[in-house]
């Protein structure tokens, strides 16, 4: 905790200590604004393409600002006759899936990170290596045997199963992030708690987790995005159309000859907006969390 405060204090002080004249900062502002425009342009373009009638986007030169306004595609994706083909159902499924994934992932990554961060033990490097290895084979390859296993266990068509699978893929990176955060907690604090008679699990729960809270948020966001975005497993493990996640639902709108591109765009925008809002809400914790991880204890 104190380390983090120091970091923040440094940043504040730096600002006050170096009062540059504003004209000298023009290049910086230009650079920042350019950077922001290039980064955000695709998102802006998505918005423009969705709010105006689609044929206006499909002409040259394309208007840089919306020339008309329509909500027709949005109305259609919310009020389809086909109840399974509704974006609100998909988004809800995605939210449930991403939340379950986040919870399982948080729990397991705390265990893994605690094991990796404490005193050295035989096999620690091996464990880290196994985690890294799980990331080295493409999902497309694992889906085949995994589908067979899950089908045999009759675990298909369940968001819980999907959350378990998604967790398996994102867990190693979460453990890595959280381990770095745990590493920053000074040994004095841990040892003091142990001397006071805490068990190690109690020390983890009472002392370390509160300190590592921003790191937990960062891990949560990584897990949430992964599950929200995941397509390959969701597509093969979910056949029940009522359980489609947003990625699979949108994917299912793509067909060989009659993809409704306007609805797909509108759905794509909604699909993007939720993680963006979620991200903006928690982003200050993310930097703090990663920052805590970067400070050497």
């Amino acid at each position: 905790m104190s380390t983090m405060h120091n970091t923040l204090a440094h940043t504040e002080k730096r600002g006050l200590a170096s009062p540059h004249h504003w004209t000298r900062r023009i290049p910086l502002y230009v650079l920042v604004i350019l950077f922001c425009i290039v980064t955000a342009f695709p998102l802006y373009w998505m918005l423009v393409s969705v709010v105006q009638p689609i044929s206006m986007s499909l002409q040259y030169p394309p208007p840089l600002f919306p020339q008309a306004f329509t909500l027709q595609p949005f109305v259609e994706i919310f009020t389809g006759q086909d109840t399974a083909q509704r974006i609100d159902v998909w988004i809800l499924n995605s939210a449930v899936l991403a939340s379950i994934t986040t919870l399982i992932c948080l729990f397991l990554s705390v265990l893994g990170a605690f094991a990796l961060s404490g005193r050295r033990w035989r096999g620690q490097a091996g464990f880290g290596f196994i985690l890294l290895m799980t990331q080295m084979l493409p999902e497309a390859l694992i889906v085949i045997p995994l589908y067979a296993t899950i089908d045999r266990l009759h675990m298909k068509d369940s968001l819980l199963t999907l959350a378990l699978v998604d967790t398996a893929f994102v867990l190693p990176i979460c453990i890595w992030i959280l381990k770095n955060v745990f590493d920053t907690i000074p040994n004095e604090i841990r040892d003091a708690a142990l001397v006071d008679g805490c068990t190690r699990m109690r020390m983890l729960w009472r002392i370390m987790l509160p300190i590592a809270a921003p790191g937990l948020v960062a891990v949560g966001v990584v897990a949430f995005f992964h599950a929200w975005n995941e397509y390959i497993f969701a597509a093969s493990l979910i056949t029940d159309r009522k359980l489609y996640t947003a990625s699979v639902g949108l994917g299912s709108m793509i067909s060989m000859i009659d993809t409704p591109i306007d609805k797909l765009m509108a759905g794509g925008l909604l699909f993007s907006i939720f993680p963006i809002i979620f991200y903006l809400l928690v982003q200050r914790y993310i930097v703090a969390g990663l920052s805590a991880g970067a400070v050497k204890g």
């Binding site: 086909d82 085949i144 589908y147 067979a148 089908d151 994917g251 793509i254 067909s255 009659d258």
Partner: protein, 439 residues
């Protein structure tokens, strides 16, 4: 959580299933008899059947099927059909993953002609020969391709044919009429093109849509009365194939919105920015309800065949009964199909789907056919089936497509000539043939 509901459903099904099996044992009589007195508890717990198809997500067709199934549920309460499946873009892969794991996870499923042959060969389809008898209809001869050892293993549920759909309003504005031959066609397409906002024709060509590209590209060789393979011999460097690709390249350079995906191109077509589309009859459905231009649908026509041979690839998509489920489920699935294939139900389905090529004798009502102003060209085109176009490669359609499409992209990018690229493609295809046919 969904798991628990699923397992409780299974238990309920377990009770009725045994009794249903007994009924099934009394033979087809059970199915033919108009009224069967089921015990009360069976009526309360109908047999659930999962119907795997990509239709559910197709705009017009999905609603048509939902309406038919609602009707089926109204007329009887012993069998319930549930929607299952995937979007068309990965339906076929997913079904194969399922097949790979032992069995397909559905009681009924639909397939493409080539996908069907592959799954039928692997024993996933049950014979549906008796369904025809129960429904009392006669399948058209094209359905013979669905016969395994003489028995039908699937029932054609939508036939599509390739043809040239065009927007007659744009033709009128440009002062052109239907093409008379291929050279004339190139001229017309070029006349209709006013870059950057109007294009003479569209045909898929993106590497990100390889299946669609290959599926439609096949027709371009048929325009020169060619085929892509004969038996086990690929014909990729044969004259008709080379001419077809050259024609494509000419059209691509002169008249196509290059780099446009199929979904976007359909939107352009709907906004009258593309004049012609080389496409299957089933695609017309999507332009029926066009909010931007209500006149568009009425302006659609299909060109009478103007190419050598007058042939259009005709693809029949069967619905199949899964051979690897419990016998009573198969029995119930056939029961549903017999209902669906009854003449009046079939006609209704065909009309709701806006289809034009019937799979059974008398499957299309003349009154309905007259309302389809865009269908004459499709009707005048002679059918050529997928096995005729691809030879034995019909079992390895996607593999052959994967050999062809990268070379096709090379041609479009101008990186090599058609002759040179197809010469190399032929070598690859021969290697493919050695691998797949020697086993």
């Amino acid at each position: 959580m969904s798991k628990s509901t699923k397992s409780s459903k299974n238990q309920k099904g377990g009770m009725s299933r045994r009794d249903f099996l007994k009924l099934g044992a009394t033979g087809a009589a059970a199915a033919v008899a108009p009224r069967i007195d089921f015990p009360a508890f069976i009526r309360q717990s109908p047999m659930d059947l999962n119907l795997l198809t990509w239709f559910w997500t197709e705009p017009g067709r999905g609603d048509a099927w939902r309406a038919m199934i609602a009707k089926f549920h109204e007329e009887q309460s012993d069998i319930r059909i549930n929607e299952a499946g995937y979007g068309e873009n990965d339906y076929f892969q997913q079904i194969l993953i399922q097949a790979r794991s032992g069995r397909i996870d559905g009681d009924l499923f639909t397939e493409t002609p080539d996908g069907f042959l592959r799954l039928a060969a692997a024993g996933h389809t049950a014979s549906v020969e008796d369904v025809i008898e129960r429904a009392g209809v006669t399948p058209v001869p094209a359905q013979d391709m669905l016969r395994i050892d003489g028995d039908l293993h699937g029932l054609d549920i939508v036939t599509v044919r390739f043809g040239l759909v065009y927007n007659s309003a744009l033709f009128d504005t440009a002062g052109v009429s239907e093409p008379t031959d291929l050279d004339n066609w190139v001229e017309i397409a070029t006349t209709l093109t006013e870059r950057p906002n109007q294009f003479g024709i569209y045909s898929p060509h993106l590497a990100s849509e390889p299946f669609t590209v290959w599926f439609i590209l096949q027709q371009w060789a048929v325009l020169y009365d060619g085929i892509w393979a004969e038996g086990q011999n690929p014909l990729l460097n044969s004259e008709p194939v080379i001419n077809g690709l050259k024609l494509f390249k000419t059209m691509y350079d002169n008249a196509m919105p290059q780099g446009t995906d199929v979904g976007t191109a359909n939107q352009l077509f709907a906004s009258s920015k593309i004049a012609q589309n080389m496409v299957v009859s089933a695609a017309v459905n999507q332009w029926k309800t066009n909010t931007e231009d209500p006149e568009l649908y009425n302006n659609l026509r299909s060109a009478a065949p103007f190419w050598p041979g007058n042939k259009g690839i005709t693809r029949i998509h069967p619905i199949c009964v899964n051979a690897n489920t419990e016998p009573e489920k198969q029995e119930a699935a056939k029961e549903f199909l017999s209902w669906l294939y009854k003449l009046e139900n079939y006609q209704e389905l065909l009309e709701r789907c806006l289809d034009v090529i019937p799979a059974i004798e008398g499957g299309i009502r003349p009154e309905y056919r007259e309302t389809l102003t865009w269908a004459d060209g499709y009707d005048a085109t002679e059918a050529i089936t997928v096995p005729e176009v691809l030879g034995d490669f019909v079992l390895f359609n996607d593999e052959l497509g994967q050999v062809v499409t990268p070379y096709f992209e090379e041609i479009l990018a101008g990186a090599s000539t058609v002759e040179d690229a197809m010469e190399r493609a032929q070598v690859d295809a021969v290697a493919l043939a050695e691998r797949v046919f020697s086993a």
